[in-house]
């Protein structure tokens, strides 16, 4: 089992994500300018400010050569996890429903929040039990999830902010969603920053652990 972690110019958390993945399986960085996914089994699109996040978060990164291959990989059913900016990129790429809007506070927020696992029937949450409460940090300015009426079936909501923990005004406390096929997931919280009790929590490791369980 091998993870590939995308590196765009302007990515911030790609090395953190790489180290997090390596706690559970092999992992390597994938360069935005390449198109070859090097035979990896799962893709992580990490957080940061890809291409400066100018114009609109994720809008420009979505068109990078590597993303074209990632989109193909996803359409073939390969597991793709988008974290924060990665979530925004996957929405822009049309791999996930909805979009991310500026936080209702209009401020960047960095805070440890609790999220509740709503759907364990995904490659990203199979190591969790329904209702599990995970402590994971968020850090973003544009994390208010929105999907038009009827475009987000309930079973595609994978994570919700625990009551009182919604940091950005997301619709129905949605913190993480998956596509119809269940093989693409995006979330605003940063599981790669919750893989070690020393830095505050190891709960985020459950997502990488789940992915590592995917038969290679």
């Amino acid at each position: 089992m091998k993870f590939g972690v995308v590196r765009f110019p302007g990515s911030c958390d790609e090395v953190d994500a790489l180290m997090a993945c390596r706690r559970f399986a092999e992992a390597e960085l994938l360069w935005h300018g390449d198109t070859d996914l090097q035979g990896i089994d799962a893709v992580v699109v990490p957080g940061g400010f890809s291409y400066g996040d100018y114009l609109r978060v994720g809008a420009i990164a979505r068109f990078s050569p590597l993303m074209e291959s990632v989109i193909e990989f996803a359409h073939e059913g390969g597991p793709v996890l988008g974290i924060c900016n990665g979530f925004q990129v996957l929405c822009e790429a049309g791999l996930l429903p909805g979009a991310l809007l500026p936080n209702d506070s209009l401020r960047f927020v960095c805070r440890q929040v609790d999220v509740i696992v709503e759907n364990t029937d995904t490659p990203f949450t199979r190591a969790c039990a329904a209702g599990d409460r995970l402590s994971i940090p968020v850090k973003h300015t544009t994390g208010r999830y929105y999907a038009p009426e009827g475009t987000l079936p309930d079973e595609q909501v994978v994570l919700r902010y625990a009551p009182g923990h919604n940091p950005n005004g997301s619709m129905d406390d949605v913190a993480g969603v998956c596509n119809e096929g269940g093989n693409v997931m995006g979330l605003m919280p940063h599981p790669e920053h919750a893989v070690d009790l020393l830095t505050g929590s190891a709960d985020g490791g459950r997502l990488f652990e789940s992915l590592a369980m995917v038969p290679a």
Partner: protein
């Protein structure tokens, strides 16, 4: 030729920037302000203005959350 693209948040989607402005203006003594919306303005020189709507669809706007309007301007930018 020069084209101007006006990008607005879709009606019905919470626009906290617009709301913030709407709250701030009365505090500065400007009364009777309503329906404030904050969007993006993009201006560019293009060879073929008919391409601009596709540019909006593909990159400049996100149709899920934004409406766009293209205005053709005569003069090129200095």
């Amino acid at each position: 030729m020069r084209a101007r693209v006006l990008i607005r948040p879709k009606a019905g989607i919470l626009d906290p920037q617009g709301q913030a402005v709407e709250r701030a203006l009365p505090a500065l003594g400007f009364e009777g302000v309503a329906n404030v919306h904050v969007g993006r303005l993009i201006e560019l020189d293009v060879e073929d203005a008919s391409e601009v709507p596709q540019m909006c669809e593909r990159l400049l706007a996100n149709p899920l959350i934004e409406d766009y309007e293209v205005v053709e301007l005569k003069e090129e930018a200095a």
